[in-house]
Symmetry: C2
């Protein structure tokens, strides 16, 4: 059974331990364990200063003149995220809009560019709601849904079931629900073999696991920047298109910021910008973009290899603690047992752990309101623990599990209301 001393020893040896100091964590916040970095990443200190400068100096004083330096933010920050975090080549990534809008653009482009009878999109039942909703809402698309967290064989089978008709495979690399990490190389390969494109939603993967879009010849990807990239609430999303597809696929939302000459305003016809720039539509959110730049810069400085290694090790330690403290804990009738639904194989999981429990909702509320741990709850019965490797400690994992044990052992949740509120 891992001890607190074990945790402290791991923290002392952690080469990334110093990165915690780059985030806004007050002394009076020291004892609170933030296990929701996979939902909203923490605030980097550099972001506070950068936003102050952009707001007060660039907007407040230089006013419209600042657009000269803001104009290329979607591409510049896109390359930072793409090259440093996603393994993309330069010029393949932009930051723009939301994950939802970006997925719509890319799925519509893939469908529009598909030849012949290819109108089917394959996704999985466990995909994040917005992904499934976007795909279902696409005019002319037929969505074929496979079981949650599919293998490459499952995807191959689904494509083979509709021969010559699948245009696109749209999946999340790491499942928001189970924490399972899908076989990106294998699934991309079977899709390509069968003439389909892939679009990966990397929201729960970017900044948490190693990703190499170029080496795996990935066609398209999207994802959000407010989780492990610490871009702040509702920060703009990333969008990746492999170089050779950029001129071939046409995204449907033609706007002036995606035009070759945005200020040639007398031009009557839309001429898309060369390269990835054509996937931008309207005016980019400057405050959002500079916050993403700061957040992603810290990830780049830590290095995605080191971060992914720590993510794997921290998650393994967390699982060890859960096994030791929560395993076989469920009382005579087993009603208090936790079911760990996150895969044990470290290459098949992301950096969060999902535990099923019939009282998951009230356990989460008790942890947040009474025990100083911030996990999140996911319908219908999951407690998610996401210890972002950039600022989380092994000791956090140890304490989180101790408090989770207390929540259940002492039924700390028992007087809390059953009724669920809307929380993210």
């Amino acid at each position: 059974m891992p001890s607190l001393e074990d945790a402290h020893a791991l923290d002392a040896a952690d080469p990334l331990a110093g990165f915690r100091d780059e985030f806004a964590i007050d002394d009076d916040d020291e004892d609170r364990i933030y296990a929701d970095g996979n939902s909203l990443g923490r605030l980097p200190l550099a972001t506070v200063e950068r936003l102050r400068r952009v707001v007060e100096e660039e907007w407040g004083r230089s006013l419209i003149g600042s657009w000269e330096s803001w104009f290329d933010l979607p591409q510049r920050v896109g390359d930072l995220v793409g090259v440093e975090v996603l393994g993309a080549r330069p010029g393949e990534t932009v930051i723009a809009d939301s994950t939802t809008v970006n997925l719509y653009k890319l799925a519509a482009a893939a469908l529009g560019g598909a030849s012949g009878d290819r109108h089917v999109i394959v996704t999985d039942a466990g995909n994040f709601p917005t992904d499934r909703f976007v795909l279902q809402g696409l005019p002319g698309a037929h969505v074929h849904t496979v079981r949650a967290d599919p293998s490459a064989d499952d995807v191959a089978q689904a494509i083979d079931d509709a021969p010559g008709r699948v245009a696109l495979v749209a999946l999340s690399h790491v499942s928001y629900f189970s924490g399972a990490r899908l076989d990106l190389p294998g699934i991309t390969h079977v899709a390509h073999d069968r003439g389909a494109l892939v679009v990966w939603d990397l929201s729960h993967a970017a900044g948490a696991v190693p990703i190499d879009l170029a080496a795996n010849d990935v066609d398209l990807a999207v994802g959000c920047t407010y989780k492990y990239l610490n871009g702040g609430p509702g920060s703009p999303a990333f969008l990746y298109v492999r170089t050779d597809l950029q001129e071939q696929l046409q995204q449907p939302i033609h706007g002036w910021f995606g035009a070759a000459e945005p200020f040639a305003m007398q031009q009557q016809r839309y001429e898309p910008a060369p390269g990835i720039g054509r996937f931008v539509s309207g005016s980019p959110s400057v405050l959002g973009l500079v916050a993403v730049e700061e957040g992603a810069a810290i990830v780049a400085k830590a290095g995605i290899g080191a971060l992914a290694a720590k993510g794997e090790s921290l998650t393994a330690f967390l699982l060890d603690c859960i096994d030791a403290e929560l395993g076989g804990f469920g009382g005579d009738d087993g009603s208090d047992d936790f079911d760990i639904i996150t895969p044990r194989n470290p290459t098949r999981r992301g950096a969060h752990v999902s535990l099923r429990h019939p009282e998951a909702w009230r356990i989460c509320r008790a942890l947040i309101e009474r025990l100083g741990v911030v996990p999140d709850f996911r319908e219908p019965d999951v407690v998610r623990l996401g210890l972002a490797p950039l600022y989380s400690r092994y000791a956090d994992a140890w304490h989180a599990v101790q408090r989770l044990r207390t929540a259940v052992a002492d039924r700390v949740y028992e007087d809390l209301p059953m009724e669920r509120r809307r929380v993210t």
Copy 2:
């Protein structure tokens, strides 16, 4: 000829004069005349403090828990803008995405909801590029373009030329180029009479002229918040749908933030939220939204009636100064003449004035770099002066015209490069 004393007298009598103090204007900025509030509005002091609080306290400290108060921002700030600025009813406006994306959603919805052979969208040649591009890019749309700044008769004629085939009339209320204000009531009426919907882009109108969407039975509207609403660079846009159309029209980008129960994540089918909420797609930009809330709150406090009245009066004074100082000024060959393309009728113009001049580009550069006036340039030959009524003074108008005269009389621009750079 208006004198500086006249200007000062008007400023002294201006009931909105005090609002200038609500914006970040340094003493050393006192002499610079910002005539580009129609492109990027100034920074409200309240926004500095609000952003600090949202970043450092809500994001930095309360973290994920803050979503409980952020969740309804699109609707809450939407109602502030809709009800106070646009004359909409409560529940008809949200803040989300960009003007480009919002126009795409609404035009696609209008086209998708149109019956029979209605595939034609009527717009005008002078519409803002992003508007024309979005409409041209819509699958299945036929765009019919009428002359710039059309009258209600022009629009009626265009619809009658394609009987039973026009689904939507898509125009900007105030032209970014000429400053002309189109006849919103008349055009809306002729469109409705002929079975077409209208979508108004209010980007250059919101916060500058009186708008009454409810009284005019306007169907749909979009617009940006970073001009006269002072929401900051690239702030999210507004989107308005008249109540009775909300359940009838289906926007194509289905996302979790537009779903009835965003956190019922096991739901396999998209169930749109009741009312205007279904027009939201992905996660909203929190920093953008709170900045819009602060900017719009000042507009609401000043009152759109008072603002529009001052906008009209300030623009009239500006035109008087231009007539007196720049009229018939063009040298022997007339080559230095300015051509005022903004309508003289105050009910037919917005709050900016556009001057054509063959040297417009270099005149703009000279004003910005050497004469302490910030206008903007629009291709091919327009100097735009946008004195936002909330923080501009009559004296600013007077000085701006004096310096414009100097720029041309002394050919202050003559040694500047002809080559045009990308500027917003």
